[in-house]
Symmetry: C2
Subunit: 374 residues, 2 copies
């Protein structure tokens, strides 16, 4: 598959149009690993922006030049709140412009901070409304709950200057000593802003973006989204098609029998228990999440935690067992019948430095990371 | 009394020198109404800056011209913390410079946000280190615990752009829709920064500063500080001298018999109970504070709250019964023998709009303000 190409000769640039959005949002929500925001909310926002402002040109990271200046954008906060209070107006563009003012330089390209049903759409909205091209890549190859959890941090790239904007009209610009401090101060401001804020951060030179971004995230999202749609139409298992395509595997098919969820400290934290169905009957697993799924544990017949089936940084993805539609952590409900998949994380997350930043121990689990393939 | 005047002919500008600091800090701490920071910490900071950078020129608000651009500075946070973690280096100047960058204009004069043992010194430090003159005035005529509690708010002057800096090197710039939002977001960031932060806010045109500042705060602080020093030397009651000079009255002389204090949500909150001594024997009063003293209540013989003797916006000041040295809320201890005075607030605080912003009901007390003279 490839992006829609503008038809006029001499300007055959790939672009993203209203028609591309449902597949991209669906696939991005799968890559969001339970987080990254709701694809339905994201689709509506992106389609409205594209309908109003026209298609957005897509650029590969390798096409970026040394004079280019790239700015990722996202929505920060608790998905439980964001789904009820999506950005209403110009928050993304205001955050974007605040970084431009702080740096004293015009941005040439928008980028995705993370993959996700909403957070792969917010850059499309920003690109449409600013008229800038969008880089086909992101900072994580998935979604993670905290700001410092991007590959940029491994490269020593600062999140500052970072800007935040809310729907009321407040703007905050941070210039911090490291990316953990950005997370800390921005998280408090996000809570003040009502648990969701539009953010622009990690301004990147063209060279930095070319090496630090995970390339092809939007293309991969679109391909996965289309694969789910086609598998469904052809009565094949959408989850199996996704696992095959992305080099992952299916952990269990099951029914959600319990969800514990709290919106706390600007995050949606909790656990979900699933009882196996079909070939998995008799099994029980528990998913632990903080916006994104962090850890999947097999439960014994006594309800005690047993083997860890998958953990961060690998992607734990939950999709509807029949339709393959991604189920985000904030949408998970009692009775949902889902397939739980694990997809491999970007290789840089599996290094010692990567695991220190986003491995299970960072999140407080007494567990050494094991790749899902092993 | 008058400021030290530079001796060389043709440049007889009033200035503040190392020798002026003890009186100014003492008097400012009295005007701080229990808050505004510790005068000892403040004196050390200001004297170090003046010794290093030379005297600071003092300018009356009426001397400001239309092309002048005035920026107040302060330390924000819980006095209990600030006294243990005063600004160590360039935090004030970094906050100051961040507002200049955000506005895109060089500041011509530094000003005081509030009167206080520390917060009348922080502008002196900033003026010394930037080489700028200091305006003899402040935004309150006393100290108050929250950012929006300045006369500027009554004039519709925004606190934005506002900057905050910590000793670690983090800087935050806020651009908010109103001054209450600045307080809300900045308070969270202050807590993140370790419960104290250097701030620069309410950038003022020369015209705004000339009308919105309480004029002569530094001169009044110096006069009150000198009065206490001289009264003490002449074996007169320093508290009576202060009350006479400032049009206030003495509420009680007593011994501190209990202090309840919590550092919470970035504030030092609590109450202190005092048992009358000398002519006041048999009486008991309670002081309620949030950084600053808010309310003084006479207690009945059954320990129940009786008449309110004084409340915000009037100044409730506590000084040592013998030396007249101001006692800040964070320094108050069991056994201290003190005089409690009330001084009249600036007339604009006594208007309906002023009382809405800083009256007893804003702080949650079911009490209608009554001026201390009445």
């Amino acid at each position: 598959m490839s992006w829609t190409v503008a038809g006029h000769i001499g300007a055959e640039a790939p672009q993203i149009t209203v028609a591309d959005i449902p597949d991209v949002a669906r696939g991005a929500a799968i890559l969001g690993a339970g987080g990254g925001g709701d694809p339905w909310v994201g689709s509506l926002m992106a389609q409205a922006a594209l309908a109003e402002c026209g298609p957005v040109r897509i650029v590969a990271p390798t096409e970026l030049g040394p004079d280019d200046f790239v700015l990722p954008v996202a929505i920060m906060g608790a998905p439980t709140v964001i789904v009820e209070k999506p950005p209403a107006g110009d928050e993304l563009v205001r955050a974007f412009a605040a970084v431009e003012r702080a740096v004293g330089r015009k941005v040439t390209h928008v980028a995705c901070l993370e993959a996700g049903g909403l957070n792969s759409m917010t850059p499309i909205v920003t690109a449409a409304r600013t008229g800038l091209p969008l880089v086909d890549g992101d900072g994580m190859g998935r979604a993670f709950p905290e700001l410092q959890m991007v590959l940029f941090t491994l490269d020593g790239i600062p999140s500052s200057p970072m800007a935040m904007a809310d729907e009321k009209g407040n703007t905050v610009v941070l210039d911090t000593i490291d990316n953990h401090w950005s997370e800390r101060i921005a998280r408090s401001a996000t809570v003040d802003m009502g648990c969701s804020a539009s953010i622009a951060l990690y301004p990147l030179t063209g060279e930095q973006a070319a090496t630090a971004l995970v390339p092809g995230t939007l293309s991969l999202a679109r391909d996965l989204g289309a694969l789910v749609r086609r598998s469904r139409a052809e009565h094949r298992d959408p989850a199996e098609a996704v696992a095959d395509h992305a080099g992952g595997r299916i952990l269990m098919r099951g029914k959600v029998i319990d969800v514990q969820r709290r919106t706390v400290a600007g995050f949606a934290r909790g656990t979900a228990r699933l009882l196996g169905i079909g070939a998995d009957e008799g099994r029980e697993i528990e998913l632990a999440f903080q916006n994104e799924h962090l850890l999947v544990t097999e439960l014994g017949s006594d309800g005690r935690a047993g083997e860890v089936l998958a953990s961060v940084p690998d992607l734990v993805c939950v999709v509807d067992v029949d339709t393959g539609e991604p189920v985000t952590t904030e949408a998970m409900r009692y009775g949902f019948r889902v397939t739980v998949l694990a997809l491999p994380a970007h290789e840089r997350w599996r290094t010692p430095a990567g695991l220190e930043l986003v491995g299970p121990r960072y999140f407080g689990y007494d567990h050494d990371y094991r790749p899902i393939e092993g």
